[in-house]
């Protein structure tokens, strides 16, 4: 068989994981992104690839340079080429006959070409392969829900949709009903003998609007007119080719609107937020597109919330948004480690936590955290010790640049190196961190134009002010007392938590009253395990921490898990399809899938995608006893004050309680 025949056969027989990309590339802005990328990269590779592609007959010479309409064909070709490269690597590794591949790649089938191709093409293809999927939805399906933390961006490939505000009821987000006192009394005194018993009649209403297909399930809103929130803007139609939710996904922030399919059927490409981030990193054009969207829609709101910018008018905020520099640091990967010595620690921090600001550098900008977390530390011994951490919306550097503002009135000759405002702390990205950097000079101009009075307390630069930076003795005390706790919380990522369950082991007698109380409130099955990471005299129990940036919300197909107005992540049992996406996403294993029983204790079954009967699973987690009058039962039940739900940001309170 000739080489070309072999290749043709292979192309025909190939399953199409890569077909996805070809479909994707027909639409903006991915087309723009890939076009831009291909233009840039293929210029370098043209010498070899052009020859090879032409040889294979996939791309005629007159198609170069690329035209938008031929991008899809080209990508199809490149996908196949990529498969060829995989074959090649496989064959070379197995020392098989690779004559045709040698011919395909030219005279020398050396590793250089393969590595180059791999390097250039792999990112895009692997991002799409790992983080994208095609979703097909029927009419009235809900694609994204308002106030839902964005976990994915969507590209409408075919069909129509509209963006609108709907009533919370239509999304099954009613406030949990308060049981009458006699029912709760009965629940307390005569607990049910069945664990995870449910009133299955409750599911009837939800089943009518839920299309259950595992992780591809979705919720429907049959009557849009009725579901629409009154006195809200008209629904905005969305056509094929429109990308939505990308900025929200990048920031992991809530969607503003609910998007509902309006055509008989719609095909959407769902790209998970990790994929959106990687695409933005991979392609400058796409990143610029997202940054532009962010500046226009989200940044003014972030700046408006900053106490230091209070009093600025809309145009000034827009100006700051326009000149702000957007930057990203770090990765999503995270591995919990324990350091044996300062060298190990230093190298780990330097490797895994990229530097955003270095202590002692000239303070020339204020930074705001737009997504993620950052460690704020000071040099200590041969390493750094944490003083605090920054989270979404926090700002750093204002105190330092205020010193610079004051100094500008002085003669340059009077200024010495020591006078220059410098950052007093080091800021490092913990995991991934997106920041907004506003140059000091621009901020100074805006503040001067606004004639905003600067209070004497805050007018000192951090390096000079006793209120901002404590004296060396105070600092030492602070470092020794709170920093050890902070280091632990940051290293183990407990900083995500806003209601973390801490157990003071010096007080806990192990009576299990907390566990029993939790079980009483929650269908005879406690929603936490009194076990977990232990550090010195306390333990962080395996209970949902109500993360400020919850990953468990990502990808819930029906929106059953959501964050309520109080910041508590709750699960609506009625529309939970038991796909376990949330349980898989939780990095702390704090969501459990349970089998449920009906009123008579019989297991409830459902049919899977193959039509086979399987036990009905439901996701369960700590919901802070939402719906109970007295708040979290575990905390209330502890007789020794050994268990508290704490916000890790209030580390000094925690320290006092533990002491």
């Amino acid at each position: 068989m000739s080489d070309s025949a072999m290749v043709d056969d292979r192309i025909k027989s190939t399953d199409s994981p890569w077909q996805l990309d070809a479909t994707l590339l027909v639409f903006e802005p991915f087309r723009t992104m890939v076009y831009h990328h291909m233009q840039q990269r293929l210029r370098k590779l043209r010498g070899r690839y052009e020859r090879n592609l032409t040889k294979l007959g996939w791309l005629s010479k007159n198609q170069l340079p690329l035209q938008p309409q031929s991008v899809a064909d080209l990508t199809q070709g490149l996908n196949c080429l990529w498969q060829d490269i995989q074959y090649l690597i496989h064959w070379l590794n197995n020392e098989a006959d690779n004559e045709w591949l040698k011919a395909f790649l030219g005279k020398t089938a050396d590793d250089e070409a393969h590595q180059l191709a791999q390097k250039e093409l792999q990112p895009l293809l692997s991002i799409l392969l790992h983080h994208a999927s095609i979703r097909v939805m029927e009419k009235s399906a809900v694609v994204v829900r308002q106030n839902e933390h964005a976990g994915s961006a969507y590209l409408l490939l075919a069909g129509q949709a509209c963006a609108l505000q709907v009533k919370e009821k239509a999304l099954f987000r009613q406030r949990p009903e308060q049981h009458p006192w006699y029912r709760r009394l009965k629940q307390n005194l005569f607990p049910c003998q069945w664990v995870e018993r449910r009133d299955t009649r409750r599911y009837d209403a939800a089943q009518q609007v839920t299309v259950s297909q595992g992780r591809d399930s979705y919720l429907r809103i049959p009557d849009l007119a009725e579901a629409r929130e009154p006195d809200t803007p008209e629904p905005k139609p969305l056509e094929a080719g429109e990308l939505f939710g990308a900025v929200a996904a990048l920031q992991h922030s809530p969607h503003y609107r609910t998007i509902v399919v309006t055509s008989e059927q719609a095909t959407l490409l769902e790209v998970r937020w990790q994929g959106v981030r990687q695409l933005a990193r991979f392609d400058r054009g796409f990143r610029q597109f997202l940054d532009q969207q962010y500046r226009r829609h989200r940044l003014p709101a972030l700046l408006q919330q900053q106490p230091i910018l209070l009093g600025l008018n809309k145009s000034q905020l827009e100006h700051l948004a326009a000149i702000a520099e957007l930057d990203s640091f770090g990765t999503m990967d995270w591995k919990s480690t324990t350091d044996q010595n300062s060298d190990q620690r230093k190298s780990r921090i330097e490797q895994s936590e990229p530097l955003i600001i270095k202590e002692g550098e000239y303070a020339n900008a204020v930074i705001f955290i737009r997504a993620g977390y950052a460690r704020k530390s000071k040099a200590y011994g041969h390493s750094e010790r944490a003083l605090d951490y920054l989270r979404q919306g926090d700002c750093y550097g204002f105190q330092e640049i205020l010193g610079g503002i004051q100094l500008r009135g002085q003669q340059v000759s009077e200024l010495t190196e020591a006078h220059l405002p410098r950052y007093s702390c080091t800021i490092r990205a913990v995991g991934y961190t997106d920041i907004v950097r506003i140059p000091a000079r621009e901020l100074e101009k805006v503040l001067a134009a606004n004639k905003q009075p600067i209070s004497p307390e805050t007018s000192q630069p951090a390096a000079m002010s006793s209120t901002v930076l404590p004296s060396s003795q105070q600092h030492e005390l602070l470092v020794h007392e709170a920093s050890d706790l902070l280091e632990f919380f940051i290293d183990q990522r407990f900083i995500y938590g806003t209601q973390t369950m801490l157990i003071n082991l010096d007080r806990c007698t192990g009576c299990d009253d907390c566990v029993r109380a939790c079980a009483t409130v929650h269908d005879q099955n406690p929603r936490f395990i009194r076990h977990g990471h232990q550090h010195g005299g306390f333990m962080v129990a395996n209970a949902c921490m109500q993360c400020s940036d919850p990953l468990c919300l990502d990808g819930c197909p029906t929106g059953a898990i959501y964050m309520n107005n109080a910041g508590t992540v709750v699960i609506n049992d009625d529309i939970c399809v038991g796909c376990s996406t949330c349980a898989d996403n939780c990095p702390f294993d704090n969501i459990q899938m349970v089998k449920i029983v009906d009123e008579h204790g019989k297991p409830v079954h459902t049919s899977d995608q193959q039509g086979k009967l399987v036990p009905q699973l439901k996701a369960t987690k700590c919901d802070m006893c939402t719906g109970q009058l007295s708040g979290p039962a575990c905390e209330k039940a502890c007789p020794h004050d050994a268990l508290r739900r704490v916000d890790i940001h209030q580390v000094e309170k925690i320290r006092d309680w533990l002491a």
């Binding site: 629940q187 007698t509 192990g510 009253d513 009194r530 209330k636 020794h640 050994a642």
Partner: protein
């Protein structure tokens, strides 16, 4: 002891002192009015006992928004102290006459004693456990015992097979097999005795005389396993004690309450009050 604890204890004593002073004042008025002091203290004591028992029900009825159980425990401790003082007022600081009354008095003192012991245990034992390493779940301890036993047995068999020597296996059979079966030396660990550890250290030192050098690493490993077992025993003993004292305190409380009600009925039937 930190300042907060000192302040809290002082506050307890102050409130208790005030309660007792108030009681004494009321009793002196009662005495002036020629009424029965015993009758008065008896009823107050019954009310206090009712409040003490209500702590248990508060723990059960968590849906009621009546403050955290920790505040109720403080009240429980305070009223326990006050109840003891009232009891002495009630018996007029002399041992009661009659078998039934003596039984009630013994039960009352046992109840107060068990409560005080529980208070002491719940304050002193958790810090001891903190420094024993990872806090283990009591219910899972049999599983940990099983794992340790399996590891030790495998190690002994492996050494015997590798070095063609049965010294370690004999040592295992004679000394370790029973010890690794489950929890041991409960009271020694409750009283924080270092005797168990020293005894095993001596046994291992003695064993080393009869082993070749190649077997020594296995002995070190075995010694680590035994010391882990001792730590596990300590946790088991402390956690067990913290759970078991309630089996004395709670049934006794209900029994006492029933006896006291009978006592009240008897007094009202026959005293002519």
């Amino acid at each position: 002891m930190n300042l907060y604890v000192v302040r809290r204890r002082l506050a307890y004593l102050l409130v208790l002192g005030l309660l007792l002073a108030g009681t004494q004042l009321v009793l002196s008025y009662v005495s002036l009015a020629m009424a029965s002091q015993v009758y008065c203290t008896g009823w107050v004591l019954l009310a206090v006992m009712g409040l003490l028992v209500s702590y248990h029900w508060r723990k059960k009825l968590l849906f009621l928004n009546l403050g955290g159980v920790r505040y109720w425990l403080r009240l429980h401790v305070l009223l326990g102290g006050y109840g003891l003082a009232l009891f002495f007022f009630h018996i007029e600081f002399s041992w009661p006459k009659g078998l039934f009354n003596q039984l009630i008095a013994v039960m009352f003192l046992l109840e107060v004693g068990s409560g005080m012991m529980g208070l002491y245990l719940s304050r002193s034992m958790p810090p001891r456990m903190t420094w024993l390493g990872e806090r283990l779940l009591y219910e899972k301890m049999p599983e940990y015992y099983q794992q340790l036993r399996q590891q030790a047995e495998d190690l002994a068999i492996q050494v015997a097979a590798e070095h063609r020597s049965d010294t370690l296996v004999k040592f295992y059979n004679r000394n370790l097999q029973n010890f690794l079966q489950g929890a041991a030396n409960f009271w020694l660990h409750v009283f924080n005795s270092g005797q168990v550890r020293s005894r095993w250290a001596l046994k291992f030192e003695g064993l080393q005389r009869y082993l070749v050098e190649e077997e020594l690493p296995a002995v070190t490993e075995l010694r680590i396993l035994i010391f882990r077992k001792i730590e596990l025993d300590k946790q088991y003993a402390i956690q067990g004690l913290l759970r078991r004292w309630l089996f004395l305190h709670i049934p006794l409380a209900y029994a006492l309450f029933v006896f006291v009600l009978a006592h009240v009925m008897v007094i009202h039937s026959f005293s002519g009050v």
